[in-house]
């Protein structure tokens, strides 16, 4: 159940991996779409927290090209609905997330990413 909303917040936390550790890249992913309730107020509050280019990139990696390159000034309902779909309805079920800097692999199985580190990777 990695949704893009959490993927957009997730950086690599391996010891010493502090720059260029975001966003994690997807590999060999299986995606499932699940509908969820549309909540425009939540989205409006959440937009300032989003790293927009990373979100657009991740969505394209998963084959969804509905988002514009730039965050539009006007937040109309149509745009919020597309954003809702990308953020909350696309679930990554299986695959691997790879840190762009240290190449640490975080496997995703059954929708749950394994974020455990080995002893030497703990900061």
């Amino acid at each position: 159940m990695v949704r893009l909303i959490t993927h957009n917040l997730l950086a690599c936390h391996v010891k010493g991996c502090t720059s260029n550790n975001f966003p994690l890249e997807f590999k060999d992913v299986q995606v499932v779409l699940r509908e969820s309730e549309f909540n425009p107020d939540f989205l409006r509050g959440f937009i300032p927290k989003l790293e927009w280019p990373a979100l657009v990139g991740a969505a394209r990696e998963l084959g969804d090209t509905s988002l514009p390159d730039q965050l539009p000034e006007m937040l109309d309902d149509d745009f919020l609905k597309t954003l809702h779909h990308v953020l909350l309805e696309i679930h990554v079920e299986e695959g691997i997330m790879i840190c762009p800097n240290c190449k640490h692999n975080y496997p995703v199985s059954n929708g749950i990413p394994n974020m455990l580190l080995a002893e030497h990777e703990i900061g």
């Binding site: 159940m1 936390h13 909540n39 929708g111 455990l116 002893e119």
Partner: protein, 283 residues
């Protein structure tokens, strides 16, 4: 009081059977739900604003279910795969992560509007290996510093936990303070052995003024805490003059006789003015 954290590390203790058992136990569900509501109360989020919360040690999603119900969007982390599997079966709404909180989080700064954690911190207080990164102070430091940075300013994090000594409380609060948190301990029902609950209430930022630590619940405990279960009923039976009504009084005897007659029992004595009357002492 049982202390499962002394038996085995969480990912082993909460194996398949224990995870199912824990989740099905209605008493656990009730306690977890009560503590989650109280933690949300202490979190003091602005009403009518959908918040994005972190559930630390979400387990099988017992507390997450309540977050769903209250309309929050949340992300849960836990170290026990079996517990997460149960959470998947129960179809909770939040995103789940398999993560050791003692290794720290990788969330971007300011990700969450708040964090709750129910019955988790005590699990961080045991060293599993002799490696320096598995000593409790190191793990707590890593946990609190990464958590502090992933919370928004201002926001709160509320942890319910079961400390086994004052030293443990001291260790946890001092490390949390070093990580930059304000706040402190809130103890509900401090004088009750059964109902006592310890909450660690931590603040990120204060927005100028000092944040006020909420008061712990005190005094009359709700839900039969302290009193034996059927005490109230017994008290009612005592009647007005404080004397306990006899259990086998005339009414009771008549009822019983009626019942026996209805069942067709033979030789039920007939009712008279002497039925159920007290024998006077002979002298």
């Amino acid at each position: 009081m049982s202390r499962p954290e002394l038996i085995a590390p969480p990912e082993i203790y909460y194996g398949d059977t224990e995870a199912k058992k824990y989740t099905k136990n209605t008493r656990n569900q009730q306690i977890q739900a009560d503590m989650t509501y109280r933690a949300l109360e202490l979190l003091n989020l602005p009403p009518d604003e959908p918040a994005f919360l972190l559930d630390i040690g979400c387990g099988s999603g017992l507390s997450g279910e309540i977050l769903d119900e209250q309309g929050y969007i949340w992300t849960g982390v836990d170290i026990a795969p079996s517990m997460l599997e149960v959470a998947l079966e129960r179809e909770v709404e939040g995103d789940l992560f398999l993560q050791d909180i003692g290794q720290g989080f990788g969330f971007r700064p300011g990700s969450f509007d708040g964090a709750i954690s129910i019955s988790v911190l005590q699990w961080l207080l045991n060293a599993e290996t002799s490696h320096p990164t598995s000593s409790p102070p190191h793990r707590l430091t890593r946990f609190f510093t990464t958590l502090h940075s992933s919370l928004r300013n201002p926001s709160r994090a509320v942890f319910q936990f079961y400390p086994s000594s004052d030293d443990q409380i001291q260790l946890i609060t001092s490390i949390a303070q070093k990580a930059g948190f304000g706040g402190g301990l809130v103890v509900d029902y401090p004088n009750s052995k059964k109902a006592k609950k310890v909450f660690l209430c931590l603040y990120v930022g204060g927005g100028g003024g000092q944040q006020q630590l909420p008061e712990g619940l005190d005094g009359e405990e709700e839900v039969d805490g302290g009193k034996a279960r059927f005490e109230r009923r017994r008290e009612r039976e005592k009647g007005k003059n404080g004397k306990r009504k006899g259990l086998k009084d005339k009414d009771w005897i008549l009822k019983k006789k009626e019942l026996y007659r209805k069942r067709g029992k033979e030789s039920v004595p007939r009712d008279s003015k002497f039925t159920g009357r007290k024998r006077r002492p002979v002298f």
